[in-house]
Protein backbone atom coordinates (compact mmCIF):
# COMPACT_ATOMS: atom_id res chain seq x y z
CA UNK A 1 0.00 0.00 0.00
CA UNK A 2 1.20 3.57 -0.43
CA UNK A 3 2.13 5.69 2.50
CA UNK A 4 1.87 9.13 0.97
CA UNK A 5 -1.09 10.02 3.19
CA UNK A 6 1.02 9.05 6.18
CA UNK A 7 3.83 11.36 5.20
CA UNK A 8 1.47 14.14 4.20
CA UNK A 9 -0.23 13.93 7.55
CA UNK A 10 3.20 13.82 9.14
CA UNK A 11 4.18 17.22 7.78
CA UNK A 12 3.15 19.83 10.36
CA UNK A 13 1.44 22.33 8.06
CA UNK A 14 -0.84 19.85 6.38
CA UNK A 15 -1.64 18.19 9.70
CA UNK A 16 -2.48 21.59 11.05
CA UNK A 17 -4.93 22.34 8.25
CA UNK A 18 -6.43 18.85 8.56
CA UNK A 19 -6.88 19.34 12.30
CA UNK A 20 -8.47 22.74 11.79
CA UNK A 21 -11.11 21.07 9.66
CA UNK A 22 -11.63 18.01 11.85
CA UNK A 23 -11.73 19.62 15.29
CA UNK A 24 -15.16 21.28 15.10
CA UNK A 25 -16.83 17.97 14.29
CA UNK A 26 -15.25 16.22 17.20
CA UNK A 27 -16.11 19.06 19.53
CA UNK A 28 -19.70 19.27 18.34
CA UNK A 29 -20.22 15.53 18.40
CA UNK A 30 -18.94 15.17 21.94
CA UNK A 31 -21.16 18.05 23.11
CA UNK A 32 -24.28 16.41 21.71
CA UNK A 33 -23.51 12.93 22.98
CA UNK A 34 -22.42 13.99 26.44
CA UNK A 35 -25.38 16.33 26.67
CA UNK A 36 -27.79 13.51 25.95
CA UNK A 37 -25.92 10.94 28.03
CA UNK A 38 -25.78 13.02 31.17
CA UNK A 39 -29.28 14.39 30.89
CA UNK A 40 -30.64 10.89 30.37
CA UNK A 41 -28.32 9.34 32.89
CA UNK A 42 -28.78 11.83 35.69
CA UNK A 43 -32.45 12.71 35.14
CA UNK A 44 -34.43 10.31 32.96
CA UNK A 45 -33.11 6.96 34.14
CA UNK A 46 -34.99 5.84 37.28
CA UNK A 47 -32.93 5.23 40.44
CA UNK A 48 -31.54 1.75 40.90
CA UNK A 49 -33.64 -0.37 43.25
CA UNK A 50 -30.71 -1.21 45.51
CA UNK A 51 -28.11 1.48 44.80
CA UNK A 52 -30.58 4.35 44.71
CA UNK A 53 -28.94 7.24 42.90
CA UNK A 54 -25.36 6.22 43.68
CA UNK A 55 -25.15 4.16 40.53
CA UNK A 56 -25.41 7.28 38.39
CA UNK A 57 -21.69 7.81 38.96
CA UNK A 58 -21.30 5.07 36.39
CA UNK A 59 -21.98 7.64 33.67
CA UNK A 60 -18.80 9.47 34.61
CA UNK A 61 -16.72 6.69 36.06
CA UNK A 62 -16.80 4.11 33.33
CA UNK A 63 -16.15 6.51 30.45
CA UNK A 64 -13.34 8.19 32.38
CA UNK A 65 -11.78 4.86 33.27
CA UNK A 66 -11.91 3.37 29.83
CA UNK A 67 -10.66 6.57 28.22
CA UNK A 68 -7.77 6.64 30.67
CA UNK A 69 -6.67 3.33 29.20
CA UNK A 70 -7.25 4.06 25.54
CA UNK A 71 -5.47 7.40 25.81
CA UNK A 72 -2.42 5.65 27.14
CA UNK A 73 -2.46 3.27 24.21
CA UNK A 74 -2.70 6.23 21.85
CA UNK A 75 0.25 7.84 23.59
CA UNK A 76 2.32 4.69 23.40
CA UNK A 77 1.58 4.15 19.72
CA UNK A 78 2.47 7.75 18.95
CA UNK A 79 5.63 7.22 20.96
CA UNK A 80 6.57 4.16 18.93
CA UNK A 81 6.02 6.09 15.70
CA UNK A 82 8.10 8.98 17.02
CA UNK A 83 10.96 6.67 17.85
CA UNK A 84 10.91 4.59 14.70
CA UNK A 85 10.25 7.24 12.07
CA UNK A 86 11.57 10.19 14.10
CA UNK A 87 8.29 11.90 13.21
CA UNK A 88 7.96 15.36 14.76
CA UNK A 89 4.16 15.20 14.76
CA UNK A 90 4.10 11.98 16.76
CA UNK A 91 6.39 13.56 19.33
CA UNK A 92 3.91 16.38 19.68
CA UNK A 93 1.07 13.90 20.14
CA UNK A 94 2.90 12.14 22.96
CA UNK A 95 3.56 15.36 24.83
CA UNK A 96 0.01 16.56 24.18
CA UNK A 97 -1.74 13.38 25.32
CA UNK A 98 -0.13 12.87 28.72
CA UNK A 99 -1.92 15.62 30.68
CA UNK A 100 -5.31 14.69 29.24
CA UNK A 101 -4.79 11.08 30.13
CA UNK A 102 -3.62 12.04 33.61
CA UNK A 103 -6.75 14.09 34.18
CA UNK A 104 -9.11 11.30 33.15
CA UNK A 105 -7.20 8.75 35.19
CA UNK A 106 -7.54 11.02 38.18
CA UNK A 107 -11.24 11.41 37.40
CA UNK A 108 -11.70 7.65 37.23
CA UNK A 109 -9.93 7.28 40.56
CA UNK A 110 -11.95 9.97 42.29
CA UNK A 111 -15.32 8.89 40.95
CA UNK A 112 -14.40 5.32 41.70
CA UNK A 113 -13.54 6.20 45.29
CA UNK A 114 -16.74 8.17 45.69
CA UNK A 115 -18.63 5.19 44.40
CA UNK A 116 -16.65 2.84 46.55
CA UNK A 117 -17.87 4.43 49.78
CA UNK A 118 -21.51 3.42 49.30
CA UNK A 119 -20.72 0.15 47.54
CA UNK A 120 -17.80 -1.28 49.47
CA UNK A 121 -18.05 0.87 52.55
CA UNK A 122 -14.59 2.30 52.02
CA UNK A 123 -13.01 4.84 49.73
CA UNK A 124 -9.96 2.80 49.05
CA UNK A 125 -8.71 -0.76 49.18
CA UNK A 126 -5.35 -2.05 48.00
CA UNK A 127 -7.00 -4.02 45.28
CA UNK A 128 -5.33 -5.04 42.06
CA UNK A 129 -7.43 -2.93 39.72
CA UNK A 130 -7.47 0.12 41.92
CA UNK A 131 -3.74 -0.05 42.48
CA UNK A 132 -2.88 -0.65 38.86
CA UNK A 133 -5.04 2.32 37.93
CA UNK A 134 -3.09 4.37 40.44
CA UNK A 135 0.08 3.13 38.78
CA UNK A 136 -1.35 4.31 35.48
CA UNK A 137 -1.70 7.76 36.97
CA UNK A 138 1.93 7.67 38.09
CA UNK A 139 2.97 6.69 34.59
CA UNK A 140 1.16 9.67 33.11
CA UNK A 141 2.70 11.93 35.72
CA UNK A 142 6.08 10.43 34.96
CA UNK A 143 5.76 11.28 31.28
CA UNK A 144 4.70 14.81 32.17
CA UNK A 145 7.59 15.21 34.60
CA UNK A 146 10.06 13.90 32.05
CA UNK A 147 8.83 16.29 29.39
CA UNK A 148 9.41 19.11 31.88
CA UNK A 149 12.88 17.98 32.83
CA UNK A 150 14.69 18.23 29.51
CA UNK A 151 15.64 21.58 28.05
CA UNK A 152 15.76 20.35 24.47
CA UNK A 153 12.23 19.74 23.24
CA UNK A 154 13.16 16.89 20.91
CA UNK A 155 15.28 15.04 23.44
CA UNK A 156 12.41 15.43 25.89
CA UNK A 157 9.89 14.05 23.42
CA UNK A 158 12.08 11.05 22.61
CA UNK A 159 12.53 10.28 26.30
CA UNK A 160 8.80 10.55 26.91
CA UNK A 161 8.08 8.30 23.93
CA UNK A 162 10.39 5.64 25.30
CA UNK A 163 8.77 5.76 28.70
CA UNK A 164 5.28 5.66 27.18
CA UNK A 165 6.14 2.64 25.07
CA UNK A 166 7.71 0.68 27.88
CA UNK A 167 4.94 1.62 30.30
CA UNK A 168 2.28 0.14 28.08
CA UNK A 169 2.61 -3.21 29.86
CA UNK A 170 0.56 -1.68 32.64
CA UNK A 171 -2.51 -1.30 30.43
CA UNK A 172 -3.40 -4.98 30.12
CA UNK A 173 -2.74 -5.34 33.81
CA UNK A 174 -5.35 -2.67 34.56
CA UNK A 175 -7.74 -4.08 32.03
CA UNK A 176 -7.59 -7.70 33.14
CA UNK A 177 -6.66 -7.25 36.78
CA UNK A 178 -10.27 -8.05 37.62
CA UNK A 179 -9.93 -11.45 35.99
CA UNK A 180 -6.41 -12.24 37.21
CA UNK A 181 -6.92 -11.50 40.87
CA UNK A 182 -10.03 -11.87 42.95
CA UNK A 183 -10.91 -8.21 43.07
CA UNK A 184 -13.59 -6.25 44.85
CA UNK A 185 -14.04 -4.39 41.63
CA UNK A 186 -16.58 -5.91 39.30
CA UNK A 187 -15.44 -7.55 36.09
CA UNK A 188 -15.97 -6.39 32.55
CA UNK A 189 -19.62 -6.65 31.72
CA UNK A 190 -20.69 -3.51 29.96
CA UNK A 191 -17.57 -3.09 27.91
CA UNK A 192 -17.63 -6.70 26.94
CA UNK A 193 -19.07 -7.14 23.49
CA UNK A 194 -22.18 -9.22 23.22
CA UNK A 195 -25.28 -8.43 25.15
CA UNK A 196 -24.76 -6.23 28.18
CA UNK A 197 -25.86 -7.48 31.58
CA UNK A 198 -27.66 -4.23 32.24
CA UNK A 199 -31.05 -3.08 31.05
CA UNK A 200 -30.93 -0.99 27.90
CA UNK A 201 -32.65 1.97 29.45
CA UNK A 202 -29.59 2.34 31.65
CA UNK A 203 -27.17 1.16 29.00
CA UNK A 204 -27.87 3.56 26.14
CA UNK A 205 -26.86 6.70 28.01
CA UNK A 206 -23.72 4.90 29.12
CA UNK A 207 -22.76 4.04 25.58
CA UNK A 208 -23.43 7.61 24.58
CA UNK A 209 -21.25 8.83 27.45
CA UNK A 210 -18.47 6.49 26.39
CA UNK A 211 -18.53 7.63 22.80
CA UNK A 212 -18.94 11.27 23.77
CA UNK A 213 -15.99 11.15 26.15
CA UNK A 214 -13.84 9.57 23.49
CA UNK A 215 -14.75 12.29 21.01
CA UNK A 216 -14.04 14.90 23.67
CA UNK A 217 -10.59 13.43 24.31
CA UNK A 218 -9.89 13.29 20.60
CA UNK A 219 -10.85 16.96 20.41
CA UNK A 220 -8.66 18.07 23.30
CA UNK A 221 -5.68 16.01 22.21
CA UNK A 222 -5.98 17.36 18.69
CA UNK A 223 -6.05 20.94 19.93
CA UNK A 224 -3.17 20.41 22.33
CA UNK A 225 -1.18 18.80 19.54
CA UNK A 226 -1.84 21.82 17.37
CA UNK A 227 -0.50 24.11 20.08
CA UNK A 228 2.55 21.93 20.51
CA UNK A 229 3.17 22.01 16.77
CA UNK A 230 2.85 25.79 16.76
CA UNK A 231 5.28 26.07 19.65
CA UNK A 232 7.81 23.85 17.93
CA UNK A 233 7.44 25.44 14.51
CA UNK A 234 7.24 29.04 15.69
CA UNK A 235 9.39 31.17 13.47
CA UNK A 236 8.92 28.93 10.44
CA UNK A 237 7.26 30.39 7.40
CA UNK A 238 3.94 28.58 7.49
CA UNK A 239 3.25 29.47 11.11
CA UNK A 240 3.76 33.15 10.32
CA UNK A 241 1.43 32.69 7.36
CA UNK A 242 -1.21 31.09 9.50
CA UNK A 243 -0.93 33.63 12.28
CA UNK A 244 -1.35 36.44 9.80
CA UNK A 245 -4.25 34.67 8.13
CA UNK A 246 -5.95 34.33 11.50
CA UNK A 247 -9.00 36.63 11.68
CA UNK A 248 -8.43 39.08 14.50
CA UNK A 249 -4.81 37.97 14.21
CA UNK A 250 -4.23 36.35 17.59
CA UNK A 251 -0.85 37.25 16.23
CA UNK A 252 2.12 37.54 18.54
CA UNK A 253 1.92 34.40 20.60
CA UNK A 254 5.72 34.63 20.63
Amino acid sequence: MNWTWFHRLGSPPSFFRFAERLAPWLGGGSLLLLGYAWFAGLVLVPPDYQQKDAFRIIYVHVPAASVSLSLYVVMAVAGAVALIWRMKLAECVVVATAPVGASFTALALVTGMLWGKPMWGTYWVWDARLTSELVLLFLYLGVIGLSQAFDDARAAARACSLLAVVGVINVPIVRYSVEWWNSLHQGSTILKMGKPSMNLEMAWPLYAALLGTMLFCAYVVLRRTQNEVLRRERGTGWVREWLRGEPGGAGDVR
Binding site: G145, G167, I173
Partner: protein
Protein backbone atom coordinates in the same frame (compact mmCIF):
# COMPACT_ATOMS: atom_id res chain seq x y z
CA UNK B 1 33.21 -11.88 23.63
CA UNK B 2 36.46 -10.30 24.85
CA UNK B 3 34.43 -7.12 24.87
CA UNK B 4 31.92 -8.66 27.21
CA UNK B 5 34.60 -9.89 29.57
CA UNK B 6 36.32 -6.52 29.56
CA UNK B 7 33.12 -4.65 30.30
CA UNK B 8 32.25 -7.02 33.10
CA UNK B 9 35.70 -6.81 34.65
CA UNK B 10 35.46 -3.04 34.49
CA UNK B 11 32.15 -2.94 36.31
CA UNK B 12 33.37 -5.25 39.04
CA UNK B 13 36.55 -3.23 39.47
CA UNK B 14 34.61 0.01 39.73
CA UNK B 15 32.26 -1.51 42.27
CA UNK B 16 35.18 -2.85 44.24
CA UNK B 17 36.68 0.67 44.34
CA UNK B 18 33.53 2.29 45.70
CA UNK B 19 32.60 0.15 48.65
CA UNK B 20 29.39 2.00 49.43
CA UNK B 21 27.93 0.51 46.28
CA UNK B 22 27.61 -2.98 47.60
CA UNK B 23 27.27 -2.05 51.24
CA UNK B 24 24.08 -0.06 50.90
CA UNK B 25 21.58 -2.67 49.64
CA UNK B 26 22.24 -5.36 52.23
CA UNK B 27 22.35 -2.71 54.95
CA UNK B 28 19.04 -1.37 53.84
CA UNK B 29 17.62 -4.85 53.63
CA UNK B 30 18.68 -5.66 57.17
CA UNK B 31 17.26 -2.42 58.53
CA UNK B 32 13.91 -2.96 56.87
CA UNK B 33 13.62 -6.49 58.18
CA UNK B 34 14.62 -5.38 61.68
CA UNK B 35 12.04 -2.62 61.60
CA UNK B 36 9.21 -4.82 60.56
CA UNK B 37 10.21 -7.53 62.95
CA UNK B 38 9.98 -4.86 65.58
CA UNK B 39 6.73 -3.51 64.23
CA UNK B 40 4.87 -6.63 65.24
CA UNK B 41 4.45 -8.07 68.69
CA UNK B 42 7.19 -10.64 69.40
CA UNK B 43 6.67 -13.77 67.26
CA UNK B 44 3.29 -12.65 66.09
CA UNK B 45 1.91 -15.14 63.52
CA UNK B 46 0.62 -12.21 61.48
CA UNK B 47 4.21 -11.21 60.82
CA UNK B 48 4.80 -14.38 58.84
CA UNK B 49 1.94 -13.41 56.57
CA UNK B 50 3.61 -10.08 55.93
CA UNK B 51 7.11 -11.48 55.50
CA UNK B 52 6.97 -11.77 51.70
CA UNK B 53 5.68 -8.24 51.34
CA UNK B 54 8.39 -6.92 53.64
CA UNK B 55 11.17 -8.71 51.80
CA UNK B 56 9.86 -7.67 48.43
CA UNK B 57 9.55 -4.03 49.37
CA UNK B 58 13.05 -4.16 50.81
CA UNK B 59 14.41 -5.71 47.63
CA UNK B 60 12.70 -3.13 45.49
CA UNK B 61 13.91 -0.17 47.49
CA UNK B 62 17.41 -1.59 47.77
CA UNK B 63 17.55 -1.80 43.99
CA UNK B 64 16.77 1.92 43.80
CA UNK B 65 19.62 2.98 46.03
CA UNK B 66 22.51 2.41 43.65
CA UNK B 67 20.58 3.00 40.47
CA UNK B 68 21.41 6.64 39.90
CA UNK B 69 25.14 6.01 39.66
CA UNK B 70 24.61 3.35 37.02
CA UNK B 71 25.44 5.51 34.00
CA UNK B 72 26.09 8.98 35.40
CA UNK B 73 29.81 8.89 36.08
CA UNK B 74 30.52 7.14 32.78
CA UNK B 75 28.57 9.82 30.98
CA UNK B 76 30.29 12.66 32.80
CA UNK B 77 33.87 11.48 32.39
CA UNK B 78 33.28 10.73 28.71
CA UNK B 79 33.71 6.96 28.89
CA UNK B 80 30.25 6.45 27.47
CA UNK B 81 31.22 8.42 24.34
CA UNK B 82 34.15 6.07 23.84
CA UNK B 83 31.91 3.05 24.30
CA UNK B 84 29.34 4.43 21.89
CA UNK B 85 32.04 4.88 19.24
CA UNK B 86 33.46 1.41 19.79
CA UNK B 87 32.31 -1.57 17.72
CA UNK B 88 30.68 -3.01 20.84
CA UNK B 89 26.97 -2.24 20.60
CA UNK B 90 25.69 0.01 23.38
CA UNK B 91 23.09 -2.64 24.12
CA UNK B 92 25.79 -4.94 25.38
CA UNK B 93 27.19 -2.19 27.60
CA UNK B 94 23.76 -1.69 29.09
CA UNK B 95 23.28 -5.39 29.65
CA UNK B 96 26.58 -5.75 31.45
CA UNK B 97 25.99 -2.71 33.63
CA UNK B 98 22.53 -3.93 34.56
CA UNK B 99 23.91 -7.35 35.33
CA UNK B 100 26.56 -5.84 37.58
CA UNK B 101 23.89 -3.81 39.30
CA UNK B 102 21.92 -6.95 39.93
CA UNK B 103 24.96 -8.78 41.27
CA UNK B 104 25.46 -6.06 43.87
CA UNK B 105 21.87 -5.17 44.72
CA UNK B 106 19.69 -8.12 43.80
CA UNK B 107 21.80 -11.20 44.32
CA UNK B 108 22.69 -10.51 47.97
CA UNK B 109 19.01 -10.14 48.73
CA UNK B 110 18.19 -13.43 47.05
CA UNK B 111 20.82 -15.07 49.22
CA UNK B 112 19.68 -13.29 52.36
CA UNK B 113 15.98 -13.84 51.73
CA UNK B 114 15.60 -17.27 53.31
CA UNK B 115 17.30 -16.40 56.62
CA UNK B 116 15.55 -13.04 56.74
CA UNK B 117 12.17 -14.65 56.20
CA UNK B 118 12.95 -17.15 58.93
CA UNK B 119 13.75 -14.26 61.25
CA UNK B 120 10.35 -12.84 60.43
CA UNK B 121 8.84 -16.17 61.42
CA UNK B 122 7.95 -17.42 57.97
CA UNK B 123 8.42 -21.16 57.96
CA UNK B 124 6.77 -22.48 54.81
CA UNK B 125 7.11 -21.54 51.17
CA UNK B 126 10.68 -20.29 51.63
CA UNK B 127 11.58 -21.93 48.33
CA UNK B 128 8.88 -20.02 46.51
CA UNK B 129 10.05 -16.82 48.16
CA UNK B 130 13.62 -17.31 47.00
CA UNK B 131 12.50 -18.35 43.55
CA UNK B 132 10.26 -15.31 43.18
CA UNK B 133 13.06 -13.00 44.30
CA UNK B 134 15.52 -14.71 41.98
CA UNK B 135 13.15 -14.06 39.08
CA UNK B 136 12.01 -10.64 40.25
CA UNK B 137 15.17 -8.80 41.23
CA UNK B 138 16.71 -8.99 37.73
CA UNK B 139 13.54 -7.36 36.44
CA UNK B 140 13.99 -4.58 38.97
CA UNK B 141 17.55 -4.01 37.78
CA UNK B 142 16.51 -4.04 34.13
CA UNK B 143 13.60 -1.65 34.48
CA UNK B 144 15.60 0.55 36.84
CA UNK B 145 18.49 0.57 34.40
CA UNK B 146 16.19 1.74 31.65
CA UNK B 147 14.92 4.64 33.73
CA UNK B 148 18.45 5.47 34.83
CA UNK B 149 19.46 5.69 31.18
CA UNK B 150 16.44 7.85 30.50
CA UNK B 151 17.27 10.38 33.20
CA UNK B 152 21.06 10.32 33.21
CA UNK B 153 21.33 13.40 31.02
CA UNK B 154 19.27 15.49 33.38
CA UNK B 155 20.71 17.94 35.86
CA UNK B 156 19.39 16.00 38.84
CA UNK B 157 17.69 13.09 37.18
CA UNK B 158 18.26 11.24 40.42
CA UNK B 159 15.03 12.72 41.64
CA UNK B 160 12.92 11.57 38.73
CA UNK B 161 14.42 8.13 38.98
CA UNK B 162 12.25 6.61 41.72
CA UNK B 163 9.13 8.37 40.50
CA UNK B 164 9.48 6.75 37.12
CA UNK B 165 10.83 3.40 38.22
CA UNK B 166 8.43 2.37 40.93
CA UNK B 167 5.22 2.47 38.90
CA UNK B 168 6.83 0.28 36.28
CA UNK B 169 7.94 -2.39 38.72
CA UNK B 170 4.85 -2.56 40.87
CA UNK B 171 3.40 -5.39 38.77
CA UNK B 172 6.52 -7.40 39.49
CA UNK B 173 6.03 -6.92 43.19
CA UNK B 174 2.40 -7.90 42.90
CA UNK B 175 3.23 -11.20 41.28
CA UNK B 176 6.26 -11.86 43.43
CA UNK B 177 4.61 -11.31 46.77
CA UNK B 178 1.42 -12.85 45.42
CA UNK B 179 3.17 -16.08 44.57
CA UNK B 180 4.60 -16.42 48.05
CA UNK B 181 1.33 -15.65 49.78
CA UNK B 182 -0.43 -18.16 47.55
CA UNK B 183 2.10 -20.81 48.50
CA UNK B 184 1.73 -19.91 52.17
CA UNK B 185 -1.97 -20.57 52.12
CA UNK B 186 -1.36 -23.75 50.21
CA UNK B 187 -2.43 -22.60 46.76
CA UNK B 188 -0.39 -23.31 43.66
CA UNK B 189 2.37 -20.73 43.20
CA UNK B 190 3.27 -21.95 39.73
CA UNK B 191 1.20 -19.51 37.71
CA UNK B 192 2.58 -16.26 39.17
CA UNK B 193 6.12 -17.60 39.02
CA UNK B 194 5.73 -18.46 35.35
CA UNK B 195 4.31 -15.01 34.82
CA UNK B 196 7.38 -13.49 36.50
CA UNK B 197 9.61 -15.59 34.29
CA UNK B 198 7.68 -14.35 31.28
CA UNK B 199 8.11 -10.70 32.31
CA UNK B 200 11.80 -11.32 32.90
CA UNK B 201 12.27 -12.74 29.43
CA UNK B 202 10.29 -9.87 27.97
CA UNK B 203 12.42 -7.27 29.80
CA UNK B 204 15.65 -9.04 28.88
CA UNK B 205 14.79 -8.90 25.22
CA UNK B 206 13.30 -5.42 25.02
CA UNK B 207 14.74 -3.18 27.70
CA UNK B 208 18.41 -3.19 26.78
CA UNK B 209 17.50 -1.78 23.37
CA UNK B 210 15.23 0.84 24.84
CA UNK B 211 17.92 1.79 27.35
CA UNK B 212 20.55 2.06 24.63
CA UNK B 213 18.34 4.46 22.69
CA UNK B 214 17.74 6.44 25.86
CA UNK B 215 21.47 6.69 26.50
CA UNK B 216 22.23 7.93 23.04
CA UNK B 217 19.47 10.44 23.60
CA UNK B 218 21.34 11.65 26.69
CA UNK B 219 24.43 12.68 24.73
CA UNK B 220 22.57 15.66 23.38
Amino acid sequence: MTALVALLRRELRLAARARMEWLMPPFFFVVVVTLFGLGAKPNDPQLAAFAPAVLWVAALLAALLTLERLFRSDLEDGTLEQMDLSPTPLVLVVLVKVFAHWVFSGLPLVLLAAPAAAVLGQREALDVLVASLALGTPILSLVGGFIAALTVGLARGGVLLPVLTLPLIVPVLVFGAGAVRAAQVGLDAGAPLYFLAAILVLCLTLIPWAAAVALRNAFD
